[in-house]
Symmetry: C2
Subunit: 328 residues, 2 copies
């Protein structure tokens, strides 16, 4: 069992704790919040033995081997370094950092300290992602991929009333592409590799971040179109289309269902299998296994994907003049 601490008290942290418990590989010993009462409450709720309101203190504590970070995007980097320097493995919620310079620095720091740094992106660790990757050849030569992730955020109501929630704030490195677009983007990078060319068409809000947008990834013989939004809703599934057939994915994350439709016979078959509802369990297991087995090969693969995704979002942001609060 790996002893884990958590940073953050939002719903995502609670989801991760539940998935960690389900995995049977991560033992939640400690929680952190800036606010001591919140830390205490969360520890009580999930039977964590320790709670902290001092991040350095938790980073130095022998009670944890690893930490899960789910703070606002803009503070991921500084917090991750604090733990890495104290030789703790870091699992950082997506989007991992604001730019590739930070990512390279953090990977170096992890290596120097003999620990791992992971980006918590749940869809590429699911069984259905693996099935999709294995079966992708069934589509024949790929010709188009359309990967939407668009969900109206209740926090946009607040934004419209004049406030600036973190996720719509450039100071907190918010926006639709880094918050939701990264799910389909990880699918694209994991399945098709790094694109030749990237172009982003954002809808920029008054705060300077993208409320929605269309991201074009150009590959050798096809185009991948990613659509993301936090200010409008969609029912669209994802599609990956080849000359021989089309994969229809019920969603980009957690890829609940995969249907394949033959272009010629029009017959369809379901390729996916039922997944755990607490679908973050798969990343918990994956990260724990890499730590336990020192599986550097798998680690390098994940590093490559995170780097490629961040190169794309960084390029997209540059094109759109989206400036994040913490630029280095």
């Amino acid at each position: 069992m790996i002893n884990l601490g958590t940073v953050g008290t939002g719903w995502i942290t609670e989801s991760f704790i539940e998935a960690a418990k389900l995995s049977g590989k991560l033992n939640i010993t400690s929680v952190y919040s800036r606010t001591e009462d919140k830390a205490k409450d969360l520890a009580g709720k999930y039977n964590a033995a320790h709670y902290f309101s001092d991040l350095e203190e938790m980073a130095k504590s022998p009670k944890i081997d690893a930490v899960y970070i789910a703070s606002p995007n803009s503070v991921h980097f500084e917090q991750a370094l604090t733990f890495l320097k104290n030789k703790k493995h870091v699992i950082c919620e997506k989007p991992i950092f604001s730019n590739t310079a930070e990512l390279e620095e953090a990977y170096r720091c992890a290596e120097e300290n003999g620990v791992y740094l992971f980006e918590a992106i749940r869809n590429i660790h699911t069984p259905n992602f693996r099935i999709l990757k294995e079966k992708l050849h069934m589509a024949g030569p790929l010709r188009s991929a359309i990967l939407p992730y668009m969900k109206y955020s209740s926090r946009y109501d607040v934004f419209l009333q004049g406030e600036e929630p973190n996720i719509f704030s450039s100071t907190y490195s918010g926006g639709a592409l880094v918050d939701l677009g990264v799910y389909p983007l990880f699918l694209a990078v994991g399945l098709f590799g790094e694109p030749k060319q990237v172009t982003y068409y954002p809808v920029i809000l008054r705060s300077g971040v993208d409320g929605s947008g269309t991201l074009i990834l150009e590959y050798q013989d096809f185009v991948c179109t990613i659509l993301c939004s936090k200010i409008s809703d969609s029912e669209l599934p994802c599609e990956i289309q080849g000359e021989k057939g089309t994969f229809v994915l019920e969603d980009a994350a957690p890829i609940s269902e995969i249907k394949f439709i033959d272009s010629h016979t029009k017959e369809s078959e379901i390729l996916s299998r039922a997944q755990e509802e607490k679908n973050m369990v798969y990343e918990c297991i994956k990260f724990a296994e890499i730590i336990e087995k020192n599986n550097d090969q798998e680690y390098e693969q994940l590093k490559e994907w995170s780097k490629k995704v961040l190169r794309v979002t960084e390029e997209a942001r540059k094109q759109s003049n989206i400036v994040f609060g913490v630029e280095r």
Copy 2:
């Protein structure tokens, strides 16, 4: 009743003839084919009194007031001029011509000869398009539109075997954007107006035309993403998303069903009504009414839409270096 001739013997011509009969406003008196036997057969099948294998002869004939042209795209222009000069109204199948210079010249010719020139694009004449246009405000400020029209063509099998069917031939002004993309493009222009900026990301085939592609239309506060393909299949509906809700259209043409989903309550309602299965009937009625009533206001609206659409496809082709056979 308006006496009509037809040019072309494909399935689309037969569909139009059936819709024309259903409309009760167009009387099929004459058909044309280069091949006399084919013309004779078609005339027999639909009880047309006359058949022609000489286009000039049909154009001069007093047996017709108007003509429907469904020949290969690259010969639309020349044939249309032949009829316009002989003072016949012209209904030309989409995509009307290869470039805007041709379109302007043909509209001038129509005006000089006191007749009308129409582009036959069935979706914008349907009752459901009108409903959509009337109800569009329900979505609140628009934030994204995703309009796919992607259908694997059996003629691509033939193309893959080394042949070059018209629809995949630059000589015949083929390709996915002008063949299928124009349906969602007419929706976009009809509902949102002319975009500020257009960018096309095509998948170019060995013949030089686009087998598929993603077309980005940038509007003031949102992005419209059009997807077209003749070399891969899709099940995706169209979506028009605003801050208050999302319209889901079962298809871009003929817009069989329109569902509206409220972003906040998640409640949905069907706004569409049942349409005629022979959905070209609506354009037949529209064109006949404009001719009968000299409805210049409606005619000017249709002209504007056709011009705007052709400006977009012309710009997209230029960006993609797609050269059509008949360039003027």
